[in-house]
């Protein structure tokens, strides 16, 4: 399915939101205002935007340690995310989870996940559950090229294919598992060729082209929704920042400046904006206003987080078990 003009504008908004949200975290983290770990999604925005645009509110996603983009694209609210990143009680997880565990089951976000490949079996279970409850809910399962070497990848894809579960496995191939390049961690270039082992479709797309992601994910989601089973969708992309904000030199120990700059030239947002202007869907002025408007929304989210209280000492014992 190809995207209409409004869809392109929506992609743009989602991607700008993710970009600015992440850049705000980058700034807050550098100033010591955000505790813990922050794995930023800058540069990879087209994957989350293109995949999640195919999902309904009641559909599910499982996410990763680099999850802000996925949950924003699935409809999470920035102020509750920001509050969570600050460790505040008003955050999505009441300050108990932080960056790597943002979840909102009500809108199908089954959680970012701190364990590489940890979300894959959970996504398989959500797919199994949808099938057993006879709904047509689809689960999109995000993971990286690094996780495609984990046992859960093989176990999960095998299980999902045997039971023809409505799951779209989205491999965000950003060419590195932390500091180890894809060349060093697997003897293949395209992760999607592993689909052959599960007798399911495997597709590789340019993960910095939101339209390509949207169209490929659309086919996979549709296939899942009508009961034809899972797809392995690989989106080639790149993270501009280091593995996390504490990564020495932001990833320049194991990547060259040239490589990083080469990928920055392929910025998924700039590429979309070019199309929007060329097709006269948005003017440059309008685009500028979108960025400014989003900056304002993010400032509001930061203010909300700042003004929110930290959890109280006694909250440490809450929610260990369902009472």
């Amino acid at each position: 399915m190809s995207a209409g003009n409004q869809q392109l504008v929506d992609f743009h908004k989602t991607m700008v939101k993710i970009r600015l949200f992440e850049q705000k975290i980058q700034d807050l983290y550098a100033r010591g205002l955000v505790p813990g770990l922050a794995h930023l999604y800058v540069g990879e925005e087209a994957v989350a935007a293109g995949v999640c645009a195919n999902l309904r509110k009641e559909d599910y996603i499982t996410s990763t340690h680099r999850g802000h983009g996925h949950v924003l694209a699935k409809g999470a609210e920035m102020k509750y995310m920001m509050a969570e990143l600050f460790g505040k009680k008003t955050g999505y997880c009441k300050g108990k989870g932080g960056s790597m565990h943002i979840a909102d089951v009500q809108i199908g976000i089954l959680g970012a996940n701190g364990i590489a490949g940890g979300g894959i079996p959970l996504a398989v279970g959500a797919g199994l559950s949808a099938k057993m409850r006879k709904t047509d809910q689809v689960t999109a399962c995000f993971f990286g090229d690094g996780s495609s070497n984990n046992g859960t990848f093989h176990e999960g894809l095998n299980f999902a294919s045997v039971h023809r579960l409505p799951v779209v496995f989205v491999c965000e191939n950003n060419l590195y598992g932390i500091s180890v390049s894809q060349k060093q961690h697997q003897a293949i270039q395209d992760v999607s060729i592993r689909s052959v082992a599960y007798n399911i479709p495997g597709v590789t797309v340019d993960g910095n082209d939101v339209l390509a992601v949207y169209e490929a994910a659309g086919k996979a989601v549709q296939r899942a929704r009508v009961g034809e089973g899972p797809t392995l969708l690989e989106c080639k992309t790149y993270r501009w920042r280091g593995h996390h904000e504490g990564d020495p030199n932001q990833g320049k120990r194991y990547r060259t400046m040239e490589e990083i700059q080469e990928w920055m030239k392929k910025c998924p947002i700039a590429r979309l904006e070019e199309k929007l202007v060329k097709r006269e869907i948005l003017t440059k002025t309008k685009i500028k206003r979108i960025w400014e408007g989003m900056e304002k929304e993010i400032e509001e989210a930061v203010a909300f987080a700042n003004e929110s209280p930290f959890p109280e000492s006694r909250d440490i014992y809450e929610d260990v078990l369902v009472s």
Partner: protein, 326 residues
């Protein structure tokens, strides 16, 4: 009352809940036509069909994790891990996913599932099919750990575990599967987190789990003939632990022996001993003694395995030692 085995008692609880609640389903290796390695799921495939009694690939992480995902989205899965030894193949799913989700998500997710598995040596199955490391799971906040010692307890505790909204690790015992006991035909529940005094006595408190309960009860009967009255307390749930019942008993008897089939180092016996030492040492008239397996892997050769398993002789020996303080 009619008598059925421990395996049949669990089977009845599974069947009852499958019948009553369409969100309950089973996953595991060889639980369908085979009926489960210890026949606990025998007959359920015929009754409930392959959609709800799912024979899985040998993929512990996939099906345990799938149970977590299904539990988060409206189902009540029950998984069988063939031997507790195999939980190491899916420890991430148990420790980092199943146990953590509710807390880590600030109460926004629930994982109502049961993970059934079993402990116990004595079948000549050696070091990878005989372990009793259920104490691992006592170490993990967010889990409930159940340890039934009789067919009656197994059925009642399983009925409760399935209805509970928390993830439950239901630790069965291989040597108990064939043991028969009185079990009502009608459904009933037993509370989680509640110990039971299996035998009253005024001289020594013997906290025992699983098959150690039955071994302890037999020795306690013998000792009664010698005038030593042993009180046998079965925690039934290891996490949360009903320490009140244990402490009350120790305060009455002034002496404590703890018996569990796992290794004593950092084991169930270590935890219970520490709690009593912390909270009731002024009531103790003797050192706390522990009965458990030695700090070795489970050996294969029958004479060695016999030495390995804590049995009636070990319980009797610890009571004899304690007699010096009577």
């Amino acid at each position: 009352m009619r008598e059925i085995t421990y395996a049949q008692a669990i089977n009845e609880a599974l069947a009852y809940n499958l019948e009553k609640d369409p969100t309950v389903f089973l996953m595991g290796e060889d639980i369908g036509k085979y009926g489960g390695i210890f026949q606990v799921t025998a007959g359920l495939l015929d009754k409930f069909g392959p959609e709800r009694i799912i024979d899985t690939p040998i993929s512990e992480a996939a099906f345990t994790g799938a149970a977590v995902g299904a539990a988060m989205t409206g189902m009540r899965p029950i998984v069988e891990i063939m031997f507790i030894d195999f939980t190491t193949a899916c420890m991430d799913m148990i420790v980092n996913q199943m146990a953590k989700i509710h807390y880590m998500f600030g109460g926004r997710g629930r994982v109502p599932m049961v993970l059934r598995t079993n402990i116990g040596a004595g079948r000549g199955a050696a070091a990878q099919h005989s372990q009793s490391f259920h104490a691992f799971f006592m170490h993990i906040p967010g889990l409930i750990v159940v340890a039934p010692s009789s067919p009656y307890d197994a059925k009642g505790l399983m009925n409760t575990a399935i209805r509970d909204d928390n993830p439950v690790v239901f630790v069965e015992h291989k040597k108990l599967y064939a043991v028969k006991g009185e079990v009502p035909e009608e459904p009933y529940t037993l509370p989680l987190g509640k110990a039971e005094i299996k035998r009253e006595g005024k001289d020594i408190t013997l906290v025992a789990t699983h098959e150690m309960v039955n071994r302890s009860l037999r020795v306690a009967e013998e000792m009664a003939r010698e005038g030593v009255e042993v009180e046998v307390v079965d925690p039934r749930t290891l996490r949360p632990l009903d320490q009140e019942t244990i402490l009350e008993s120790v305060k009455k008897t002034g002496r404590l022996i703890v018996a569990d089939e796992g290794p004593v180092t950092c084991g169930v016996t270590a935890e219970i001993s520490a709690r009593v030492a912390e909270q009731a040492i002024e009531y103790l008239e003797a050192p706390i003694l522990r009965v458990g397996s030695p700090d070795t892997p489970v050996p294969f050769s029958p004479p060695l395995e016999k030495i390995y398993i804590p049995d009636e002789d070990d319980v009797r020996e610890s009571i004899r030692k304690m007699q010096a303080y009577l």
